[in-house]
Symmetry: C2
Subunit: 254 residues, 2 copies
DNA sequence: CACCGAGTTCCGGTCAGCGGAACTCCGAAG
DNA sequence: CTTCGGAGTTCCGCTGACCGGAACTCGGTG
């Protein structure tokens, strides 16, 4: 649990963050456990949050509220990113017919911001808003390779959690992969986050070279060879980057 | 400006709500104007909000933060709705090659929650998270027709703002249209929100018959005849509704 | 019956948050 | 150059919004 400053906002955030990507509804007691707030405080806070619709009361407990959804959809930079990316992701899906993702760097994890395809089977472990570790996914490695050096140092010095037999858990190995990715602009993953799943990813870089997001295509190893689609993924990512830069320079003249 | 309770949460919400769908970044002073908070209070609040990433500092001011985007994407009911709808919307886009929308009812307006296509020209005035009046859009009329009677009464008794020469502004006319929509499950719009734009929409109804969202296809009157696609739109909406109900009954057994 | 866990209400103490005022910074006008 | 005004920041003492312990209700269980 992250350290929570003793302010109302801190408590609010700890309540909101208590909801993981897979949590539908959480009960009063469960929220109490996750946040560590006293019953009285939590009770009042939940009431207040529900009133402004940051939370909604469900049949079995509380869930993240509709107002939050609206605000999130408006969060300007990310909204613009998703708007700009959508056509490219659709195009990528048309070419590959495999699951396409747009991922953002958040802390030491990837957050999935958009997803196309993959509705026939639960082929990928991702959900919208879900998180995955950086070192075990193609999209994560693409982000990490182009992130600030300080982040790389942090991730490389912490233990790398093993998720499958093929997860890269040795820092040296990961560091070498990241160097390659930085040169080629393409990251691969072979059953490193999940057995049977392969993936290619490419970073979307901003005008200053900072990494903004990453695009990936994932599919089952049985039929999907990520190398075949490396060029398409790379093209989509650079296309998105270019469009973003064009838009930004346009609007700055406003 | 809605009445804001004198609590921190109230102030937080008034800051967040100060951001409209089209606002990218707002400066300190502009936020002060919109929220009515004192400079000192606002300053501290903005700092705190930025710290928890509900706001981000941009070059020209503040914008809705990345954390908000993540939370919004996780807001469970709406997330499920968007996840379930996406394949249907994509399919609809494939059939029509016109702009496809998913809209939610929020207060007396439609909020656009998903959008596919329409990237070649700014054919439709919608943005993700944007709002439109209920009476002047097909998607709005579809929502309104199947909403609670009390909402209809409210909307019909308030003046109906004219947006184009063909906007329906007489309550009687609108009431008759709504009755038809309720029977057929299909709503039309011919240049009522914008000259040159036509649209078909159909409601997504929940297991209890309450309206959850609506799907629409919009295109320019020059090439687009909404009646041709009524069946497709209706099919998409009912498909979404069925999938939602199936999922809900499944997960309730968990 | 007693017991337990979930959720709600009460109430007095206190510190987080409030806002007026004074300040810096910067760009535009004269 | 100086003056001016708007934007943003800091200071500080007052106060009521918020805190949490404790006592409560409610429903299920042995």
């Amino acid at each position: 649990m992250t350290e929570v400053p003793n302010t109302l906002l801190g408590k609010v955030m700890s309540v909101l963050n208590a909801f993981g990507a897979d949590d539908d509804e959480l009960g009063f007691a469960e929220l109490g456990r996750r946040t560590g707030l006293s019953k009285a405080t939590l009770h009042r806070l939940l009431g207040d949050l529900a009133e402004v619709r940051l939370l909604d009361r469900g049949t079995r407990g509380y869930r993240l509220g509709g107002h939050l959804f609206q605000l999130g959809i408006r969060a300007s930079v990310e909204r613009r990113l998703v708007e700009v990316s959508t056509p490219y992701l659709e195009d990528l899906y048309e070419r590959t017919h495999e699951t396409v993702h747009l991922g953002l760097l958040e802390g030491h994890e990837v957050v999935y911001a958009a997803k196309i395809g993959g509705h026939r089977q639960a082929s990928s472990p991702s959900r919208l808003g879900g998180r995955m570790p950086l070192h075990a996914t193609a999209i994560g490695k693409a982000l990490l390779a182009h992130s600030q050096p300080s982040l790389r140092t942090e991730v490389l010095s912490a233990p790398l959690a093993r998720r499958t037999p093929r997860t890269v858990v040795t820092p040296g190995m990961l560091r070498r992969q990241l160097a390659t990715i930085r040169q080629t602009g393409v990251a691969y993953e072979f059953e490193e986050s999940r057995v049977g799943l392969a993936c290619v990813a490419s970073p979307v870089l901003g005008h200053d070279g900072a990494v903004v997001a990453a695009v990936s295509v994932a599919g089952p190893t049985t039929r999907f060879d990520p190398r075949v689609h490396a060029a398409s993924v790379h093209a989509a990512a650079t296309g998105i980057a270019l469009t973003l830069i064009r838009r930004a320079t346009l609007s700055s003249g406003t």
